[in-house]
């Protein structure tokens, strides 16, 4: 983990992630904001790779940058054009102060934690086989509940967009 290449990669990816996350909040057009969000997802995937978590990195790209962002784009396109402005909101000063406070707390905790020791305790080989075993043995209940939740979401989506009074056609 101390090889120069990894350190350089970490700083570049961190800059990419944080920079695009900042642009999400700052940029004017909502579609541009979503695109910067996708960029930050990809940056996070890169950070996963520096941690040798290959499965999680690829799944991050597949799910977040591939599916969740498409969902967000569809949601934006369904809103009228007038509401698509990333305009300043009221109470921006107190809200920014709150966000700054939360950020400061997180940074303080992150600096204070002894990461080497914390990493040692939860030794976990994040390869696909291990994740699969984990999902089916200790974490099987959340896994099944998540699938049920997804089915409910799909059924709900279909119910929402069905034209009124029409039965399902081909």
């Amino acid at each position: 983990m101390d090889e120069p290449a990894v350190i350089v990669a970490f700083w570049v990816l961190a800059a990419l992630t944080l920079g695009s996350a900042l642009m999400v909040a700052v940029v004017r057009d909502l579609i541009h904001a979503v695109l910067f969000l996708i960029l930050s997802f990809v940056g996070v995937a890169g950070l996963y790779i520096t941690l040798s978590a290959d499965f999680v990195a690829v799944v991050q790209v597949l799910i977040y940058a591939g599916a969740v962002s498409v969902l967000m784009l569809f949601a934006i396109l369904l809103t009228p054009s007038s509401a698509r402005d990333n305009a300043p909101v009221p109470y921006s000063a107190p809200l920014s102060a709150l966000a700054g406070l939360i950020g400061a707390v997180i940074i303080f905790v992150a600096i204070q934690t002894d990461w080497a020791k914390a990493g040692d305790e939860g030794r976990f080989q994040a390869t696909a086989a291990e994740i699969g075993r984990a999902l089916l043995d200790p974490f099987v209940l959340p896994f099944e509940v998540a699938s049920v939740l997804l089915v409910i979401a799909m059924v709900g989506a279909i119910v929402l967009v069905r034209p009124a009074g029409e039965e399902e056609g081909a």
Partner: protein, 368 residues
């Protein structure tokens, strides 16, 4: 829970569009993907032929009929010459009539090759069946070129017969064509007709109910596709058609698929007619001499033929002079288009394009 309302928007299909078969403009109002309203804007190819014809003699008007339906020039010529002969009481010799029938049926096959080919092109098959059908069309156009020198705007029929007699090399060429064509049509039917993707695209798309078709005076393969057995060649036989034995294909449902199959089958029946005409071809002159500036008796005439697109009619009023007083064409494509809105409302844009392809319009004929 509020409904998601989306406002309808207007989209222009054409006049420059790869598949509107000419300069044809269709303004569709779309609600999502469904068409709510379809408005045709015509006239992009208007060349005022009917007015120009009033300044020219009857013989000089024959090239106009080439260029109206430029994909079926022979039948255009035929309709016009029949109308003038009816007006002036001219009798055409038998050989001339037989040659006219042969060339009209050849033109029908060529036009249907083009129509079906472009129809499947609209369905998306990247011109492969079109190229196959063009193989046949090339043979037919070569036959035309042998006889009258032109492939597309043939200007072959004259008032009183045909312009030239056929050369010697024409006979083996047309025998070869007649021998090979039925096998080729069977090949097309085998490759195309039971194709599930074609069925999915064209079955139950653009349905034209028979009573709507009759009330809108639709004619040609569109009418026959809707199940009505009507063919001008059988109903009012002109030009010796009552001497030939042929059938009319009639569809079941009136959708694009039925029209497609009707056109395929009509090609086969046309080959039958050509075979019979060739075997009965008499000798003699191909035409009677007719004065250059023909002055028919004052009167009016309406003559109609079955062109590949439908019933092509000519209404000519003569005032005794060398040029007609009024020259009007009942163009089948224009009348067939009047039901386009009925057929396309409720379909998606892709289906509308397919339906337009199956109507088989020719904008030269619509706008004249």
């Amino acid at each position: 829970m509020t409904e998601l309302r989306t406002p309808p928007y207007v989209v222009n299909i054409g006049p420059q569009h790869p598949s509107t078969h000419g300069v044809f403009r269709l303004r569709v109002t779309l609600d999502g993907e469904r068409i709510v309203d379809a408005e045709m804007v015509l006239g992009y190819l208007h060349r005022s032929m009917e007015k120009l014809a009033e300044e020219r003699t009857y013989t000089q008007n024959i090239p106009f009929t080439d260029r109206m339906d430029y994909l079926a020039a022979m039948t255009g010529n035929l309709g016009y010459c029949l109308a003038v002969e009816k007006l002036a009481g001219i009798e055409v010799p038998e050989r001339g009539s037989y040659l006219r029938v042969i060339f009209a049926e050849l033109q029908r096959i060529a036009s249907h090759c083009m129509a079906n080919g472009t129809f499947i092109n609209d369905c998306g098959a990247w011109q492969t069946p079109l190229m196959y059908m063009f193989r046949e069309r090339e043979q037919i156009l070569d036959l035309f070129e042998m006889t009258c020198g032109a492939r597309l705007t043939t200007n072959y029929m004259r008032i009183g017969g045909v312009a030239f007699d056929v050369p010697d090399e024409w006979y083996p060429a047309i025998e070869k064509f007649v021998r090979e064509m039925p096998a080729r049509i069977s090949e097309y039917e085998e490759m195309l007709l039971d194709n599930e993707i074609l069925l999915a695209r064209a079955r139950d798309v653009g349905v034209l109910k028979p009573e709507v078709a009759i009330n809108a005076s639709v004619s040609g393969p569109m009418l026959r596709g809707s199940g009505i057995a009507w063919d001008v060649r059988k109903a009012e036989p002109y030009c010796l058609y009552d001497r030939f034995d042929f059938d009319i294909p009639v569809g079941h449902n009136g959708d694009c698929y039925d029209r497609f199959v009707v056109r395929m089958e009509e090609m086969r029946q046309s080959v039958r007619i050509i075979e019979q005409a060739l075997s009965q071809l008499p000798g003699g002159p191909p035409s009677v001499p007719v004065p250059l500036a023909l002055r028919p008796e004052p009167g009016e005439v309406y003559a109609r033929i079955e062109s590949p697109k439908g019933e092509l009619g000519f209404y000519i009023v003569s005032d005794g002079g060398p040029a007609p007083y009024r020259w009007h064409v009942r163009s089948p494509s224009l009348i067939n288009l009047s039901v386009l809105k009925e057929m396309t409302v409720g379909l998606s844009v892709a289906d509308a394009i397919v339906t337009l392809g199956s109507v088989d319009i020719n904008v030269g004929e619509i706008d004249r």
